[in-house]
């Protein structure tokens, strides 16, 4: 007679992660989500079914062995768990916090069909934070290959490539244009979503793998790619310079004082710590009535920073709530903190006072059109629906495109003339031999993890290229 195993009781509800109270957190820059305790992590880990054919891994752009690390948590083998993650992902403390798990690994989780999926991201963060508290372990490194690699940009894509290639024994130099590593993790994502101490830990980890990080080195100006390859003796180059060029609306009055690009606003607040002015030297002038134009994660970050700095914030977005491209969780967080949204509206003109400071803006109402072939709904103007709002600060968060400096200074490097992105094949190879690219510079603005996925693929391709190179 066949023995029947007792079926594990399936808990359909995930263990919630504690957060700072909305009213409290809306006035500080401390991290919003507080992380799991060990008990909470063990309970959540127990929900994983340890599927023989795990679907979650297929949803992860860098293929983290998710069931394996969750098994380690259950067995309290935390050091083993973090090594399992780091075999594929050099930045787990970052990914556990800012990955859109709901549309990746967790979207594929089998339990998700019956209840809430296993909280992969929260568990990843638990292990990463455990490692931070207990000291970082360095993985084994392959013997030196004698090959030199230049990585441009120390953001998610660049750090991934640098870590992967250093582990494989290549000599890696990473060139970062800003005075701090981390790229968008440092200048873009705010402290309350991703504490900068954590970013610095991840950057240090990559440096401890043997990567030579050179800050304040703008490729295209300080050195060019052809110079790196000819005079610098680099055998291969990876471009991960991101999407740093801000887009503007083109509306009249856009150069008035008090109108910031999202990049300027976030660089002041996050990289330069203007929220701590005058302890830090970089100032930020923010009024009482802030309008953020746009609806992506960057717009949410700008809105939430502004509220923390004491402003009332209205988000102006030209489509409706359902089309907001920001993560669902971020929209909810922002609304709990007091964000007001004005949907189906777009700016037409900005008006200033006698000192050249913005005082009001004219908008027009929009309506949605039928979905196009890709299923995305367009918008059209409703004639005669103009209205005016009083504002004293405007933040324009309508997207970023790649910075053109590298494209302009690298002969033969093909890029898309319309979007400014560098043209690459599926593994990140560009039109130049030995030159690879990935992340936002190749795709246009996207997520941290998709940039890391691109870095992963490019690192493999570069490793193969270097192995065959005489």
């Amino acid at each position: 007679m066949a023995e029947t195993k007792p079926k594990p009781k399936l808990n359909k509800k995930a263990v919630e992660m504690r957060k700072q109270e909305p009213k409290v957190r809306a006035r500080n820059f401390n991290e919003v989500a507080l992380g799991y305790t060990e008990e909470e992590a063990l309970e959540e880990a127990s929900r994983c079914l340890q599927c023989p054919k795990p679907q979650c891994i297929t949803g992860c752009p860098v293929e983290v062995p998710i069931p394996a690390f969750i098994k380690c948590i259950r067995e309290k083998k935390y050091a083993e768990g973090i090594s399992a993650i780091k075999s594929k992902n050099a930045l787990p403390a970052v990914c556990g916090r800012v990955c859109p798990q709901e549309s990746q690994c967790q979207a594929k989780c089998v339990i998700g069909k019956m209840g809430e999926p296993v909280s992969v991201g929260r568990l990843e963060r638990f292990l990463a934070d455990w490692e931070c508290d207990h000291g970082f372990q360095l993985p084994p490194k392959a013997p030196p290959t004698g090959k030199k690699v230049a990585v441009i940009g120390a953001g998610p894509a660049g750090l991934t490539v640098a870590a992967d290639l250093a582990k494989r024994g290549h000599e890696v130099t990473e060139f970062e244009a800003l005075h701090l590593g981390g790229g968008v993790l440092s200048y873009g994502i705010p402290e309350f979503r991703l504490p900068k101490a954590i970013v610095q830990n991840e950057v240090n980890y990559v440096q401890n793998l043997g990567v030579d990080l050179r800050l304040g080195n703008l490729i295209g100006r300080t050195h060019t790619i052809p110079e790196l390859m000819k005079e610098g003796g680099y055998d291969a180059v990876f471009i991960g310079s991101g999407a740093g060029l801000p887009q503007f609306t083109g509306c009249p009055g856009e150069n008035l004082g008090g109108i910031y690009s999202a990049n300027e606003f976030l660089i002041r607040v996050n990289l330069m710590k203007a929220f701590a002015f005058p302890d830090y030297d970089t100032p930020l002038r923010l009024g009482k009535h802030v309008v953020v134009i746009g609806g992506g994660n960057v717009a949410m970050d700008c809105a939430r920073c502004s509220m923390r700095l004491g402003a009332e914030v209205c988000l102006v977005y030209r489509r409706s709530r359902d089309e907001l491209p920001a993560r669902h969780e971020e929209i909810e967080n922002a609304e709990e903190e007091g964000l007001v949204c004005k949907f189906l509206a777009a700016p037409l003109e900005f008006y200033g006072d006698e000192r050249g400071w913005v005082k009001s803006m004219k908008c027009i109402c929009m309506e949605l059109t039928e979905p196009d072939a890709k299923g995305r709904r367009g918008v059209k103007i409703i004639p005669g629906s103009e209205f005016t709002m009083d504002v004293d600060t405007v933040i324009i968060a309508i997207g970023q495109t790649p910075n053109p400096i590298i494209q302009r200074t690298t002969e033969g490097l093909q890029s898309d003339p319309r979007h400014g992105t560098i043209c690459v094949n599926e593994v990140g190879k560009t039109s130049l031999d030995g030159v690879y690219a990935g992340g936002d510079v190749a795709t246009g603005a996207a997520t941290v993890i998709s940039a890391m996925g691109a870095g992963k693929r490019a690192a493999q391709a570069m490793h193969d290229y270097l192995a065959n190179k005489k």
Binding site: L218, T222, L245, G258, S261, N263, E264, F277, D281, R355
Partner: protein
């Protein structure tokens, strides 16, 4: 240099090897500091050094003024921006004002080496603020000086109108305060002399990321850092630039005041 004008020479071999006239640096003094754009006033690839000059006017520049020889800056990035166009134009009028005289002379030297005849005009608020006259005389074909109050040389820049009536210039290069660049551009316009101004809007990253340095030139939005810093003076919207430069003035004053009242730097040179 007089009146808290300070010249820094920093060791930065990578930058020194690439620097050209017209380019600038972003300097971060320390971990809590600002990113300050400063125009390169000289470079020496052999020694591996670049120099820049500044007036001690705000908190950061006063603080920089307290640095001693041998001290380290947190970071220097560069060379940023597009280099000046240096070739044989013919007769070139170079006008420099205030601290920007230092980088102007770098261009004067390059223009001379390219075979131009160069007439240099140095402007300052008063006689006491005049700098680098000797250096200018050594490298230019002719030098005029002017002060706002007439305490030295010509009073104001109106004398340029007479000069332009008498002498034909093929190009004019202006580096100085915004109002000076605006005034010179207005003077040269009726004479049809191509006039190049070096704009110094507020910047943060200095490499095209933040867009705070946006200026309107020929009706189009341009970024001072990556499209400039040199632009056509006859096409530049100076009025807008003046307003944009003033947007953070109250905060800048507050920062400077707080720093001074809290004792300034340890060396005590900038104590209130």
């Amino acid at each position: 240099m007089a009146h808290k004008e300070t010249l820094f020479e920093v060791e930065a071999p990578d930058i020194a090897a690439k620097a050209q006239p017209g380019q600038f640096l972003i300097v971060v003094p320390h971990a809590k500091g600002e990113r300050v754009p400063l125009t390169i006033s000289s470079y020496n690839a052999k020694k591996g050094t670049v120099s820049f000059a500044f007036h001690e006017v705000g908190k950061t520049t006063k603080e920089l003024g307290c640095f001693n020889e041998g001290d380290c800056l947190l970071n220097v990035t560069g060379p940023l921006g597009n280099p000046s166009e240096v070739k044989k134009f013919g007769n070139v009028l170079c006008v420099g004002g205030s601290i920007m005289i230092a980088p102007l002379l770098l261009q004067v030297k390059a223009l001379k080496e390219a075979g131009n005849k160069v007439v240099t005009v140095l402007g300052a608020r008063t006689k006491d603020f005049m700098i680098m006259e000797k250096e200018a005389k050594a490298m230019s074909d002719r030098v005029y000086v002017a002060t706002d109050d007439g305490s030295y040389g010509n009073k104001g820049l109106d004398f340029l109108k007479d000069l332009l009536k008498k002498e034909k210039f093929d190009r004019c290069v202006v580096m100085g305060p915004v109002v000076m660049m605006r005034d010179v551009s207005e003077i040269t316009k009726p004479f049809g002399i191509p006039t190049i101004v070096t704009l110094t809007p507020i910047m943060i990253d200095g490499m095209g990321m933040c867009g705070v340095c946006r200026v309107t030139v020929g009706g189009k939005m341009q970024f001072g850092c990556v499209d400039g810093p040199e632009f056509d003076g006859h096409q530049t919207n100076f009025e807008e630039l003046v307003l944009r430069q003033r947007t953070m003035l109250p905060e800048e004053r507050l920062g400077s005041l707080l720093w001074e009242t809290s004792g300034g730097c340890v060396c005590g040179r900038n104590k209130a």
